[in-house]
Protein backbone atom coordinates (compact mmCIF):
# COMPACT_ATOMS: atom_id res chain seq x y z
CA UNK A 1 0.00 0.00 0.00
CA UNK A 2 1.36 3.30 -1.05
CA UNK A 3 1.03 5.36 2.05
CA UNK A 4 4.64 6.45 2.33
CA UNK A 5 6.35 9.64 1.30
CA UNK A 6 4.19 10.61 -1.65
CA UNK A 7 1.01 9.22 -0.20
CA UNK A 8 2.01 8.84 3.39
CA UNK A 9 -1.48 9.32 4.66
CA UNK A 10 -4.91 8.06 3.99
CA UNK A 11 -6.49 10.50 1.56
CA UNK A 12 -9.30 11.12 4.05
CA UNK A 13 -6.95 12.53 6.68
CA UNK A 14 -6.22 16.20 6.74
CA UNK A 15 -2.68 16.74 5.41
CA UNK A 16 0.02 17.31 8.01
CA UNK A 17 2.56 20.12 8.19
CA UNK A 18 5.12 18.39 6.01
CA UNK A 19 2.62 18.21 3.17
CA UNK A 20 2.06 21.95 3.38
CA UNK A 21 5.84 22.31 3.44
CA UNK A 22 6.03 20.19 0.31
CA UNK A 23 3.44 22.35 -1.45
CA UNK A 24 5.25 25.50 -0.36
CA UNK A 25 8.55 24.10 -1.62
CA UNK A 26 6.92 23.22 -4.92
CA UNK A 27 5.52 26.74 -5.22
CA UNK A 28 8.89 28.28 -4.33
CA UNK A 29 10.52 26.04 -6.91
CA UNK A 30 8.14 27.30 -9.58
CA UNK A 31 8.60 30.93 -8.53
CA UNK A 32 12.37 30.78 -8.85
CA UNK A 33 12.37 28.87 -12.13
CA UNK A 34 12.18 31.84 -14.55
CA UNK A 35 15.13 33.40 -12.71
CA UNK A 36 17.64 30.80 -13.76
CA UNK A 37 16.13 28.81 -16.62
CA UNK A 38 16.21 29.46 -20.32
CA UNK A 39 13.20 30.87 -22.11
CA UNK A 40 12.70 27.64 -23.99
CA UNK A 41 12.33 25.67 -20.74
CA UNK A 42 9.84 28.18 -19.38
CA UNK A 43 7.73 27.90 -22.53
CA UNK A 44 7.92 24.12 -22.34
CA UNK A 45 6.94 24.15 -18.66
CA UNK A 46 3.97 26.40 -19.39
CA UNK A 47 2.77 23.81 -21.89
CA UNK A 48 3.18 21.05 -19.30
CA UNK A 49 0.98 22.93 -16.83
CA UNK A 50 -2.07 22.53 -19.06
CA UNK A 51 -1.28 18.88 -19.64
CA UNK A 52 -0.76 18.36 -15.90
CA UNK A 53 -4.27 19.62 -15.19
CA UNK A 54 -5.58 17.14 -17.76
CA UNK A 55 -3.62 14.39 -16.00
CA UNK A 56 -4.95 15.51 -12.62
CA UNK A 57 -8.52 15.36 -13.84
CA UNK A 58 -8.08 11.77 -14.85
CA UNK A 59 -5.90 10.84 -11.88
CA UNK A 60 -8.57 12.11 -9.51
CA UNK A 61 -11.37 10.23 -11.24
CA UNK A 62 -9.47 7.00 -11.74
CA UNK A 63 -7.23 6.86 -8.71
CA UNK A 64 -9.80 8.00 -6.15
CA UNK A 65 -13.24 7.58 -7.70
CA UNK A 66 -12.38 4.36 -9.49
CA UNK A 67 -13.88 5.74 -12.68
CA UNK A 68 -11.63 5.12 -15.66
CA UNK A 69 -12.59 7.86 -18.09
CA UNK A 70 -10.54 7.27 -21.20
CA UNK A 71 -11.86 10.45 -22.76
CA UNK A 72 -10.91 13.29 -20.44
CA UNK A 73 -9.41 14.75 -23.62
CA UNK A 74 -12.98 15.50 -24.72
CA UNK A 75 -13.36 18.13 -21.99
CA UNK A 76 -9.76 19.21 -22.49
CA UNK A 77 -10.52 19.94 -26.14
CA UNK A 78 -13.85 21.57 -25.31
CA UNK A 79 -12.02 23.85 -22.88
CA UNK A 80 -9.41 24.73 -25.48
CA UNK A 81 -11.93 25.50 -28.21
CA UNK A 82 -14.36 27.13 -25.78
CA UNK A 83 -11.71 29.56 -24.57
CA UNK A 84 -10.39 30.32 -28.03
CA UNK A 85 -13.74 30.95 -29.70
CA UNK A 86 -15.12 33.07 -26.87
CA UNK A 87 -11.92 35.06 -26.32
CA UNK A 88 -11.60 35.79 -30.05
CA UNK A 89 -15.21 36.93 -30.17
CA UNK A 90 -15.28 39.03 -27.03
CA UNK A 91 -11.66 39.86 -26.31
CA UNK A 92 -12.22 39.07 -22.64
CA UNK A 93 -9.65 36.44 -21.74
CA UNK A 94 -10.24 36.01 -18.01
CA UNK A 95 -13.95 35.45 -18.48
CA UNK A 96 -13.21 33.04 -21.31
CA UNK A 97 -11.08 30.93 -18.98
CA UNK A 98 -14.05 30.61 -16.65
CA UNK A 99 -16.18 29.75 -19.66
CA UNK A 100 -13.70 27.01 -20.62
CA UNK A 101 -14.12 25.47 -17.16
CA UNK A 102 -17.91 25.72 -17.40
CA UNK A 103 -17.89 24.30 -20.93
CA UNK A 104 -15.84 21.29 -19.84
CA UNK A 105 -18.19 20.77 -16.90
CA UNK A 106 -21.27 21.07 -19.11
CA UNK A 107 -19.91 18.49 -21.55
CA UNK A 108 -19.11 16.16 -18.67
CA UNK A 109 -22.54 16.73 -17.13
CA UNK A 110 -24.38 15.76 -20.30
CA UNK A 111 -22.26 12.72 -21.12
CA UNK A 112 -21.95 11.72 -17.46
CA UNK A 113 -25.67 11.94 -16.83
CA UNK A 114 -26.51 9.38 -19.49
CA UNK A 115 -23.65 7.07 -18.56
CA UNK A 116 -24.01 7.21 -14.80
CA UNK A 117 -27.77 7.41 -14.45
CA UNK A 118 -28.02 4.79 -17.19
CA UNK A 119 -25.89 2.61 -14.90
CA UNK A 120 -23.56 1.31 -17.58
CA UNK A 121 -20.69 -0.78 -16.25
CA UNK A 122 -17.16 0.55 -15.70
CA UNK A 123 -15.69 -0.91 -18.83
CA UNK A 124 -18.47 0.51 -21.01
CA UNK A 125 -17.99 3.86 -19.36
CA UNK A 126 -14.33 3.77 -20.41
CA UNK A 127 -15.23 2.86 -23.97
CA UNK A 128 -18.04 5.41 -24.17
CA UNK A 129 -15.84 8.28 -23.01
CA UNK A 130 -13.18 7.29 -25.54
CA UNK A 131 -15.73 7.14 -28.34
CA UNK A 132 -17.10 10.51 -27.23
CA UNK A 133 -13.73 12.22 -27.57
CA UNK A 134 -13.10 10.55 -30.94
CA UNK A 135 -16.48 11.70 -32.22
CA UNK A 136 -15.63 15.24 -31.15
CA UNK A 137 -12.28 14.96 -32.92
CA UNK A 138 -13.94 13.79 -36.15
CA UNK A 139 -16.55 16.50 -35.82
CA UNK A 140 -14.05 19.30 -35.33
CA UNK A 141 -11.82 17.99 -38.12
CA UNK A 142 -14.80 18.23 -40.47
CA UNK A 143 -15.23 21.96 -39.94
CA UNK A 144 -12.82 23.22 -42.60
CA UNK A 145 -15.53 24.82 -44.74
CA UNK A 146 -16.12 28.55 -44.33
CA UNK A 147 -19.71 27.87 -43.28
CA UNK A 148 -18.38 26.69 -39.90
CA UNK A 149 -18.17 30.02 -38.14
CA UNK A 150 -19.02 30.84 -34.54
CA UNK A 151 -19.48 34.57 -34.22
CA UNK A 152 -16.53 35.87 -36.18
CA UNK A 153 -14.31 32.84 -35.67
CA UNK A 154 -13.75 30.18 -38.33
CA UNK A 155 -13.19 26.72 -36.81
CA UNK A 156 -10.72 25.77 -39.56
CA UNK A 157 -11.15 21.97 -39.29
CA UNK A 158 -7.86 20.06 -39.60
CA UNK A 159 -5.75 23.17 -39.25
CA UNK A 160 -7.16 24.32 -35.95
CA UNK A 161 -7.32 27.92 -34.77
CA UNK A 162 -3.81 29.36 -34.50
CA UNK A 163 -4.85 32.79 -33.26
CA UNK A 164 -5.54 31.82 -29.64
CA UNK A 165 -5.56 35.10 -27.67
CA UNK A 166 -2.91 35.41 -24.98
CA UNK A 167 -4.08 35.82 -21.42
CA UNK A 168 -4.44 39.41 -20.27
CA UNK A 169 -3.94 40.83 -16.81
CA UNK A 170 -7.35 40.26 -15.15
CA UNK A 171 -7.52 43.69 -13.48
CA UNK A 172 -5.99 45.50 -16.44
CA UNK A 173 -7.33 43.90 -19.65
CA UNK A 174 -5.36 46.16 -21.96
CA UNK A 175 -2.07 44.47 -21.04
CA UNK A 176 -1.16 40.97 -22.21
CA UNK A 177 0.81 38.76 -19.84
CA UNK A 178 4.41 38.19 -20.86
CA UNK A 179 5.98 34.74 -20.96
CA UNK A 180 7.00 34.77 -17.31
CA UNK A 181 3.64 36.13 -16.24
CA UNK A 182 1.89 33.38 -18.14
CA UNK A 183 4.19 30.82 -16.54
CA UNK A 184 3.32 32.13 -13.08
CA UNK A 185 -0.40 31.99 -13.78
CA UNK A 186 -0.04 28.39 -14.97
CA UNK A 187 2.02 27.38 -11.95
CA UNK A 188 -0.44 29.04 -9.58
CA UNK A 189 -3.44 27.39 -11.20
CA UNK A 190 -1.80 23.98 -11.15
CA UNK A 191 -0.83 24.27 -7.49
CA UNK A 192 -4.32 25.52 -6.64
CA UNK A 193 -6.02 22.69 -8.51
CA UNK A 194 -3.75 20.16 -6.83
CA UNK A 195 -4.36 21.69 -3.42
CA UNK A 196 -8.08 21.90 -3.98
CA UNK A 197 -8.43 18.28 -5.08
CA UNK A 198 -6.26 17.07 -2.21
CA UNK A 199 -8.32 18.96 0.36
CA UNK A 200 -11.53 17.85 -1.31
CA UNK A 201 -10.56 14.27 -0.47
CA UNK A 202 -10.81 15.13 3.23
CA UNK A 203 -14.41 16.32 2.93
CA UNK A 204 -17.44 14.07 3.13
CA UNK A 205 -17.84 14.32 -0.64
CA UNK A 206 -14.26 13.21 -1.23
CA UNK A 207 -14.48 10.39 1.25
CA UNK A 208 -17.66 9.05 -0.32
CA UNK A 209 -15.91 9.24 -3.72
CA UNK A 210 -13.18 6.97 -2.35
CA UNK A 211 -15.96 4.75 -1.00
CA UNK A 212 -17.29 4.47 -4.55
CA UNK A 213 -13.93 3.25 -5.72
CA UNK A 214 -13.73 0.71 -2.94
CA UNK A 215 -17.25 -0.66 -3.10
CA UNK A 216 -20.07 1.05 -4.91
CA UNK A 217 -22.77 -1.34 -3.74
CA UNK A 218 -21.86 -0.93 -0.09
CA UNK A 219 -21.92 2.84 -0.48
CA UNK A 220 -25.37 2.58 -1.94
CA UNK A 221 -26.57 0.25 0.80
CA UNK A 222 -25.34 2.75 3.38
CA UNK A 223 -27.80 5.18 1.84
CA UNK A 224 -25.67 7.42 -0.36
CA UNK A 225 -27.09 8.16 -3.80
CA UNK A 226 -23.95 7.00 -5.56
CA UNK A 227 -25.03 8.27 -8.95
CA UNK A 228 -25.09 11.83 -7.70
CA UNK A 229 -21.62 11.57 -6.16
CA UNK A 230 -20.19 9.90 -9.24
CA UNK A 231 -21.67 12.51 -11.55
CA UNK A 232 -20.37 15.24 -9.25
CA UNK A 233 -16.84 13.86 -9.48
CA UNK A 234 -17.15 13.45 -13.24
CA UNK A 235 -18.34 17.02 -13.74
CA UNK A 236 -15.60 18.37 -11.48
CA UNK A 237 -12.97 16.45 -13.43
CA UNK A 238 -14.49 17.79 -16.66
CA UNK A 239 -14.00 21.33 -15.34
CA UNK A 240 -10.38 20.68 -14.42
CA UNK A 241 -9.74 19.19 -17.87
CA UNK A 242 -11.46 22.20 -19.47
CA UNK A 243 -9.19 24.58 -17.57
CA UNK A 244 -6.18 22.53 -18.65
CA UNK A 245 -7.37 22.68 -22.25
CA UNK A 246 -7.75 26.45 -22.25
CA UNK A 247 -4.31 26.84 -20.76
CA UNK A 248 -2.74 24.38 -23.18
CA UNK A 249 -4.31 26.09 -26.20
CA UNK A 250 -2.86 29.42 -25.03
CA UNK A 251 0.57 27.93 -24.45
CA UNK A 252 1.27 26.47 -27.88
CA UNK A 253 -0.81 28.67 -29.09
CA UNK A 254 -3.23 26.59 -31.12
CA UNK A 255 -6.66 25.08 -30.64
CA UNK A 256 -6.42 21.89 -32.66
CA UNK A 257 -8.51 18.71 -33.16
CA UNK A 258 -5.43 16.82 -31.98
CA UNK A 259 -6.46 17.81 -28.44
CA UNK A 260 -9.36 15.33 -28.69
CA UNK A 261 -7.34 12.58 -30.37
CA UNK A 262 -6.71 8.96 -29.48
CA UNK A 263 -3.01 9.71 -29.18
CA UNK A 264 -3.67 12.39 -26.58
CA UNK A 265 -6.14 10.16 -24.72
CA UNK A 266 -3.50 7.44 -24.56
CA UNK A 267 -0.95 9.97 -23.30
CA UNK A 268 -3.18 10.71 -20.33
CA UNK A 269 -3.42 7.03 -19.37
CA UNK A 270 0.34 6.81 -19.64
CA UNK A 271 1.02 9.86 -17.46
CA UNK A 272 -1.34 8.64 -14.78
CA UNK A 273 -0.15 5.03 -14.81
CA UNK A 274 3.55 5.85 -14.90
CA UNK A 275 3.29 8.68 -12.40
CA UNK A 276 1.17 6.64 -10.04
CA UNK A 277 -2.58 6.93 -9.67
CA UNK A 278 -2.77 6.30 -5.94
CA UNK A 279 -1.57 9.88 -5.40
CA UNK A 280 -2.53 13.20 -6.91
CA UNK A 281 1.06 14.35 -7.31
CA UNK A 282 1.83 11.20 -9.33
CA UNK A 283 -0.08 12.20 -12.50
CA UNK A 284 1.59 15.63 -12.42
CA UNK A 285 5.01 14.04 -12.13
CA UNK A 286 3.99 11.65 -14.91
CA UNK A 287 3.38 14.54 -17.27
CA UNK A 288 6.68 16.21 -16.53
CA UNK A 289 8.68 12.96 -16.68
CA UNK A 290 7.12 11.52 -19.82
CA UNK A 291 6.84 14.73 -21.80
CA UNK A 292 10.41 15.63 -20.95
CA UNK A 293 11.52 12.11 -21.84
CA UNK A 294 9.68 12.38 -25.16
CA UNK A 295 11.47 15.63 -25.98
CA UNK A 296 14.79 14.15 -24.99
CA UNK A 297 14.24 11.04 -27.14
CA UNK A 298 13.47 13.36 -30.05
CA UNK A 299 16.75 15.20 -29.67
CA UNK A 300 18.66 11.91 -29.43
CA UNK A 301 17.52 10.96 -32.91
CA UNK A 302 15.42 8.02 -31.74
CA UNK A 303 13.03 7.50 -34.61
CA UNK A 304 10.57 5.28 -32.81
CA UNK A 305 9.56 7.45 -29.84
CA UNK A 306 6.15 5.79 -29.57
CA UNK A 307 7.72 2.34 -29.50
CA UNK A 308 10.05 3.33 -26.67
CA UNK A 309 7.17 4.85 -24.73
CA UNK A 310 5.18 1.67 -25.27
CA UNK A 311 8.05 -0.32 -23.79
CA UNK A 312 8.12 2.03 -20.80
CA UNK A 313 4.39 1.53 -20.29
CA UNK A 314 4.80 -2.27 -20.46
CA UNK A 315 7.56 -2.15 -17.85
CA UNK A 316 5.38 -0.09 -15.53
CA UNK A 317 2.27 -2.21 -15.96
CA UNK A 318 4.21 -5.44 -15.43
CA UNK A 319 6.82 -4.45 -12.83
CA UNK A 320 5.96 -1.18 -11.08
CA UNK A 321 2.20 -1.33 -10.94
CA UNK A 322 1.97 1.42 -8.34
CA UNK A 323 3.65 3.92 -10.63
CA UNK A 324 6.76 6.06 -10.29
CA UNK A 325 6.15 8.20 -7.20
CA UNK A 326 4.45 5.61 -5.00
CA UNK A 327 7.26 3.20 -5.88
CA UNK A 328 9.82 5.79 -4.82
CA UNK A 329 7.75 6.34 -1.70
CA UNK A 330 7.75 2.64 -0.97
CA UNK A 331 11.46 2.10 -1.54
CA UNK A 332 11.84 0.35 1.83
CA UNK A 333 9.17 -2.12 0.84
CA UNK A 334 10.57 -2.43 -2.67
CA UNK A 335 13.96 -3.22 -1.15
CA UNK A 336 12.41 -5.78 1.19
CA UNK A 337 10.61 -7.43 -1.71
CA UNK A 338 13.56 -6.98 -4.06
CA UNK A 339 13.56 -10.65 -4.98
CA UNK A 340 10.05 -10.39 -6.27
CA UNK A 341 10.89 -7.22 -8.19
CA UNK A 342 13.87 -8.98 -9.76
CA UNK A 343 11.73 -11.93 -10.64
CA UNK A 344 9.30 -9.61 -12.39
CA UNK A 345 12.12 -7.84 -14.22
CA UNK A 346 13.66 -11.16 -15.23
CA UNK A 347 10.28 -12.27 -16.48
CA UNK A 348 10.20 -9.37 -18.92
CA UNK A 349 12.35 -11.02 -21.65
CA UNK A 350 10.12 -14.05 -21.39
CA UNK A 351 7.11 -11.82 -21.84
CA UNK A 352 8.72 -10.20 -24.84
CA UNK A 353 9.76 -13.62 -26.14
CA UNK A 354 6.10 -14.42 -26.02
CA UNK A 355 5.92 -12.54 -29.29
CA UNK A 356 7.37 -15.74 -30.74
CA UNK A 357 4.44 -17.83 -29.73
CA UNK A 358 1.99 -15.30 -30.89
CA UNK A 359 1.41 -11.59 -30.54
CA UNK A 360 -2.16 -12.30 -29.57
CA UNK A 361 -1.00 -14.19 -26.49
CA UNK A 362 1.09 -11.21 -25.43
CA UNK A 363 -1.80 -8.89 -26.09
CA UNK A 364 -4.02 -11.11 -23.97
CA UNK A 365 -1.53 -11.02 -21.11
CA UNK A 366 -1.32 -7.24 -21.30
CA UNK A 367 -5.06 -6.86 -21.47
CA UNK A 368 -5.43 -9.09 -18.42
CA UNK A 369 -2.91 -7.05 -16.48
CA UNK A 370 -4.56 -3.83 -17.56
CA UNK A 371 -7.99 -5.21 -16.73
CA UNK A 372 -6.79 -5.74 -13.18
CA UNK A 373 -6.19 -2.01 -12.99
CA UNK A 374 -9.69 -1.23 -14.15
CA UNK A 375 -11.92 -0.73 -11.15
CA UNK A 376 -14.56 -3.29 -10.47
CA UNK A 377 -13.46 -5.90 -12.94
CA UNK A 378 -11.14 -7.70 -10.55
CA UNK A 379 -13.20 -7.35 -7.43
CA UNK A 380 -16.43 -8.33 -9.06
CA UNK A 381 -15.27 -11.85 -9.79
CA UNK A 382 -14.99 -12.43 -6.06
CA UNK A 383 -18.48 -11.27 -5.28
CA UNK A 384 -20.49 -13.20 -7.80
CA UNK A 385 -22.12 -15.54 -5.29
CA UNK A 386 -25.74 -15.26 -4.36
Amino acid sequence: MAYRVFAMQQPSQRPRWWWWLFVAALAAFFITMPLHLELFVILEMSRFFGLAMLALSMGFLWGFGGVLSFGQTAFFGLGGYGYTVLALNTGATTGSVFFAIAFGMAGAAVLGYFMIYGRISEIYLSVTTLVFTLILEKGVRATSGDQYVIGTVRLNGQNGIPTVPQLKVPWNPSVELDINGFFYVGATLLVLVYLGLRLLLTTQFGRVIVGLRENERRTELLGYDTRRYKLGAFVLAGGVAGLGGAFYAMSIPLAHPEMFSLGRAADVIMWVLVGGKSTLIGPIAGVFAIEHFKGWLGTQGVGQVTLVLGAVLIVFVLVFQQGLLPTVGMLPEVWRDRRQVWRRILALPRTVAAVDWGVDELALLLVRRLARLIPGSASRSGRGRT
Partner: protein
Amino acid sequence: MSEREIILETRALEKRFGGVRAIAGVDFRLARGELRCLIGPNGAGKSTFFKMLTAQLRPSAGQIVFDGHDITRAQAHRISRHGIGIKNQVPDVYDGITVHENLWLAARYRHGPRAAQAKIDEILSRLELVAIADTIVGELAHGQRQWVEFGMVTVLEPQVILLDEPTAGMTIEETNRTAALIKEVNQTTTIVVVEHDMQFIRQIARTVTVFHQGKILAEDTMENIQRNQTVRDVYLGKSGGA
Protein backbone atom coordinates in the same frame (compact mmCIF):
# COMPACT_ATOMS: atom_id res chain seq x y z
CA MET B 1 -47.40 -15.38 17.76
CA SER B 2 -48.50 -12.28 19.55
CA GLU B 3 -50.33 -9.42 17.92
CA ARG B 4 -47.27 -7.24 17.56
CA GLU B 5 -46.93 -4.64 14.84
CA ILE B 6 -45.78 -6.04 11.50
CA ILE B 7 -42.75 -4.09 10.28
CA LEU B 8 -41.82 -6.05 7.17
CA GLU B 9 -44.10 -8.02 4.94
CA THR B 10 -43.79 -9.62 1.52
CA ARG B 11 -46.81 -10.66 -0.51
CA ALA B 12 -46.50 -13.38 -3.16
CA LEU B 13 -42.91 -12.30 -3.77
CA GLU B 14 -41.35 -13.94 -6.78
CA LYS B 15 -37.99 -13.88 -8.59
CA ARG B 16 -37.40 -15.65 -11.88
CA PHE B 17 -33.99 -16.10 -13.46
CA GLY B 18 -34.84 -17.19 -16.99
CA GLY B 19 -37.04 -20.23 -16.44
CA VAL B 20 -35.94 -20.84 -12.85
CA ARG B 21 -38.14 -19.58 -10.05
CA ALA B 22 -35.54 -18.80 -7.37
CA ILE B 23 -38.26 -17.33 -5.17
CA ALA B 24 -41.63 -18.82 -5.94
CA GLY B 25 -44.23 -16.84 -4.07
CA VAL B 26 -43.14 -15.97 -0.54
CA ASP B 27 -45.52 -14.49 2.01
CA PHE B 28 -43.31 -13.40 4.85
CA ARG B 29 -44.31 -11.41 7.91
CA LEU B 30 -41.92 -9.99 10.47
CA ALA B 31 -43.00 -8.30 13.68
CA ARG B 32 -41.14 -5.40 15.25
CA GLY B 33 -38.51 -6.52 17.75
CA GLU B 34 -38.25 -10.07 16.47
CA LEU B 35 -35.08 -12.09 16.09
CA ARG B 36 -35.89 -14.35 13.18
CA CYS B 37 -33.70 -17.03 11.66
CA LEU B 38 -33.96 -18.19 8.06
CA ILE B 39 -32.62 -21.62 7.29
CA GLY B 40 -32.78 -23.89 4.29
CA PRO B 41 -30.59 -25.99 2.02
CA ASN B 42 -28.24 -24.36 -0.48
CA GLY B 43 -30.14 -22.76 -3.32
CA ALA B 44 -33.33 -22.45 -1.28
CA GLY B 45 -33.43 -18.76 -2.13
CA LYS B 46 -32.46 -17.17 1.19
CA SER B 47 -29.83 -14.81 -0.20
CA THR B 48 -31.99 -13.98 -3.22
CA PHE B 49 -34.79 -13.11 -0.81
CA PHE B 50 -32.46 -10.79 1.16
CA LYS B 51 -31.23 -9.13 -2.02
CA MET B 52 -34.78 -8.37 -3.09
CA LEU B 53 -35.56 -6.86 0.30
CA THR B 54 -32.61 -4.49 -0.15
CA ALA B 55 -33.17 -3.65 -3.83
CA GLN B 56 -30.03 -5.43 -4.95
CA LEU B 57 -32.34 -7.55 -7.10
CA ARG B 58 -35.66 -6.55 -8.63
CA PRO B 59 -38.60 -8.83 -7.79
CA SER B 60 -40.31 -10.37 -10.82
CA ALA B 61 -43.67 -10.20 -9.10
CA GLY B 62 -45.21 -9.55 -5.71
CA GLN B 63 -44.86 -6.79 -3.18
CA ILE B 64 -42.59 -5.75 -0.32
CA VAL B 65 -44.05 -3.51 2.37
CA PHE B 66 -41.79 -2.01 5.00
CA ASP B 67 -43.16 0.03 7.87
CA GLY B 68 -46.19 1.02 5.83
CA HIS B 69 -44.23 1.90 2.68
CA ASP B 70 -44.24 -0.10 -0.53
CA ILE B 71 -40.52 -0.55 -1.24
CA THR B 72 -40.88 -3.12 -4.03
CA ARG B 73 -39.39 -0.83 -6.64
CA ALA B 74 -37.30 1.47 -4.42
CA GLN B 75 -33.75 2.47 -5.36
CA ALA B 76 -31.00 0.72 -3.39
CA HIS B 77 -29.91 3.88 -1.57
CA ARG B 78 -33.52 4.49 -0.44
CA ILE B 79 -33.57 1.21 1.44
CA SER B 80 -31.15 2.51 4.03
CA ARG B 81 -33.16 5.70 4.39
CA HIS B 82 -36.27 3.64 5.09
CA GLY B 83 -34.36 1.85 7.82
CA ILE B 84 -33.13 -1.50 6.54
CA GLY B 85 -29.48 -2.45 6.92
CA ILE B 86 -27.91 -5.56 5.42
CA LYS B 87 -24.74 -7.53 5.90
CA ASN B 88 -24.26 -9.49 2.70
CA GLN B 89 -23.04 -13.08 2.57
CA VAL B 90 -19.61 -12.18 1.22
CA PRO B 91 -18.23 -9.38 3.44
CA ASP B 92 -19.22 -6.21 1.66
CA VAL B 93 -16.74 -3.73 3.11
CA TYR B 94 -14.25 -1.16 1.85
CA ASP B 95 -11.10 -3.28 1.60
CA GLY B 96 -8.67 -0.53 0.65
CA ILE B 97 -9.29 1.85 3.56
CA THR B 98 -9.06 1.68 7.34
CA VAL B 99 -11.56 0.22 9.79
CA HIS B 100 -12.21 3.70 11.13
CA GLU B 101 -12.91 5.11 7.66
CA ASN B 102 -15.27 2.21 6.93
CA LEU B 103 -17.28 3.00 10.02
CA TRP B 104 -17.05 6.75 9.39
CA LEU B 105 -18.66 6.44 5.96
CA ALA B 106 -21.54 4.58 7.56
CA ALA B 107 -21.87 6.76 10.66
CA ARG B 108 -21.55 10.05 8.80
CA TYR B 109 -24.45 9.17 6.57
CA ARG B 110 -26.74 8.92 9.57
CA HIS B 111 -25.25 11.46 12.00
CA GLY B 112 -23.57 14.86 12.10
CA PRO B 113 -19.77 15.05 12.29
CA ARG B 114 -19.54 15.06 16.12
CA ALA B 115 -22.18 12.43 16.73
CA ALA B 116 -20.62 10.25 14.05
CA GLN B 117 -17.28 10.21 15.86
CA ALA B 118 -19.01 9.33 19.15
CA LYS B 119 -20.90 6.48 17.48
CA ILE B 120 -17.69 5.18 15.90
CA ASP B 121 -15.88 5.19 19.25
CA GLU B 122 -18.79 3.39 20.84
CA ILE B 123 -19.03 0.68 18.18
CA LEU B 124 -15.24 0.23 18.04
CA SER B 125 -15.10 -0.58 21.72
CA ARG B 126 -18.24 -2.70 21.62
CA LEU B 127 -16.80 -4.82 18.80
CA GLU B 128 -13.30 -4.71 20.40
CA LEU B 129 -11.85 -3.23 17.22
CA VAL B 130 -10.16 -0.24 18.90
CA ALA B 131 -6.66 -1.69 18.51
CA ILE B 132 -7.07 -2.21 14.78
CA ALA B 133 -9.02 0.97 13.99
CA ASP B 134 -6.23 2.22 11.71
CA THR B 135 -5.66 -1.08 9.93
CA ILE B 136 -6.62 -1.49 6.29
CA VAL B 137 -9.69 -3.71 6.25
CA GLY B 138 -8.39 -5.85 3.40
CA GLU B 139 -5.58 -7.04 5.67
CA LEU B 140 -7.92 -8.32 8.39
CA ALA B 141 -9.04 -11.89 9.01
CA HIS B 142 -12.40 -12.94 7.63
CA GLY B 143 -14.11 -12.87 11.01
CA GLN B 144 -12.91 -9.36 11.78
CA ARG B 145 -14.09 -8.11 8.40
CA GLN B 146 -17.50 -9.56 9.21
CA TRP B 147 -17.52 -7.55 12.43
CA VAL B 148 -16.52 -4.39 10.62
CA GLU B 149 -19.47 -4.87 8.33
CA PHE B 150 -21.71 -5.63 11.28
CA GLY B 151 -20.47 -2.41 12.88
CA MET B 152 -21.17 -0.43 9.71
CA VAL B 153 -24.71 -1.72 9.60
CA THR B 154 -25.41 -1.06 13.27
CA VAL B 155 -24.11 2.54 13.32
CA LEU B 156 -26.70 3.28 10.65
CA GLU B 157 -29.23 2.50 13.42
CA PRO B 158 -31.70 0.80 11.10
CA GLN B 159 -35.03 -0.55 12.25
CA VAL B 160 -34.37 -3.93 10.70
CA ILE B 161 -31.00 -5.59 10.23
CA LEU B 162 -30.59 -8.44 7.76
CA LEU B 163 -27.57 -10.64 8.41
CA ASP B 164 -26.57 -13.12 5.72
CA GLU B 165 -24.35 -15.77 7.30
CA PRO B 166 -22.77 -13.55 9.95
CA THR B 167 -20.59 -16.32 11.40
CA ALA B 168 -19.16 -17.79 8.18
CA GLY B 169 -15.44 -18.35 8.61
CA MET B 170 -15.48 -17.62 12.35
CA THR B 171 -13.94 -19.67 15.13
CA ILE B 172 -16.26 -21.10 17.80
CA GLU B 173 -15.23 -18.34 20.15
CA GLU B 174 -15.93 -15.65 17.58
CA THR B 175 -19.25 -17.27 16.78
CA ASN B 176 -20.25 -17.15 20.43
CA ARG B 177 -19.36 -13.50 20.65
CA THR B 178 -21.34 -12.78 17.49
CA ALA B 179 -24.35 -14.51 19.03
CA ALA B 180 -24.03 -12.31 22.11
CA LEU B 181 -23.70 -9.19 19.96
CA ILE B 182 -26.77 -10.08 17.93
CA LYS B 183 -28.82 -10.60 21.09
CA GLU B 184 -27.60 -7.28 22.43
CA VAL B 185 -28.48 -5.35 19.26
CA ASN B 186 -31.82 -7.15 19.13
CA GLN B 187 -32.91 -5.33 22.28
CA THR B 188 -33.43 -2.23 20.15
CA THR B 189 -33.57 -3.57 16.61
CA THR B 190 -35.45 -6.20 14.65
CA ILE B 191 -33.06 -8.76 13.19
CA VAL B 192 -33.29 -11.46 10.53
CA VAL B 193 -30.42 -13.94 10.28
CA VAL B 194 -29.64 -16.43 7.53
CA GLU B 195 -27.39 -19.19 8.82
CA HIS B 196 -26.27 -22.74 8.18
CA ASP B 197 -24.69 -23.25 11.58
CA MET B 198 -27.42 -25.05 13.59
CA GLN B 199 -25.48 -24.74 16.82
CA PHE B 200 -25.49 -20.97 16.36
CA ILE B 201 -29.17 -20.85 15.48
CA ARG B 202 -30.05 -22.83 18.59
CA GLN B 203 -28.16 -20.18 20.56
CA ILE B 204 -30.14 -17.23 19.27
CA ALA B 205 -33.32 -18.41 17.61
CA ARG B 206 -36.83 -17.80 18.72
CA THR B 207 -38.78 -18.23 15.52
CA VAL B 208 -37.29 -20.08 12.58
CA THR B 209 -38.45 -19.89 8.98
CA VAL B 210 -37.42 -22.71 6.68
CA PHE B 211 -36.94 -21.95 3.00
CA HIS B 212 -37.03 -24.72 0.44
CA GLN B 213 -37.02 -24.38 -3.36
CA GLY B 214 -37.97 -20.74 -3.22
CA LYS B 215 -40.88 -21.19 -0.84
CA ILE B 216 -41.49 -21.09 2.87
CA LEU B 217 -41.65 -24.70 3.97
CA ALA B 218 -42.27 -24.18 7.66
CA GLU B 219 -42.25 -21.49 10.30
CA ASP B 220 -42.15 -22.32 13.98
CA THR B 221 -40.06 -22.34 17.14
CA MET B 222 -36.66 -24.04 16.92
CA GLU B 223 -37.83 -27.05 18.97
CA ASN B 224 -40.79 -27.69 16.74
CA ILE B 225 -38.73 -27.18 13.59
CA GLN B 226 -36.25 -29.77 14.77
CA ARG B 227 -39.08 -32.24 15.29
CA ASN B 228 -40.70 -31.41 11.94
CA GLN B 229 -40.44 -34.49 9.70
CA THR B 230 -40.75 -32.56 6.41
CA VAL B 231 -37.88 -30.27 7.38
CA ARG B 232 -35.71 -33.24 8.34
CA ASP B 233 -36.48 -34.90 5.02
CA VAL B 234 -35.50 -31.77 3.12
CA TYR B 235 -32.20 -31.49 4.92
CA LEU B 236 -31.43 -35.18 4.66
CA GLY B 237 -32.63 -35.31 1.08
CA LYS B 238 -35.27 -38.07 1.50
CA SER B 239 -37.91 -36.25 -0.47
CA GLY B 240 -38.63 -32.91 -2.08
CA GLY B 241 -35.24 -31.82 -3.34
CA ALA B 242 -33.66 -33.83 -6.11
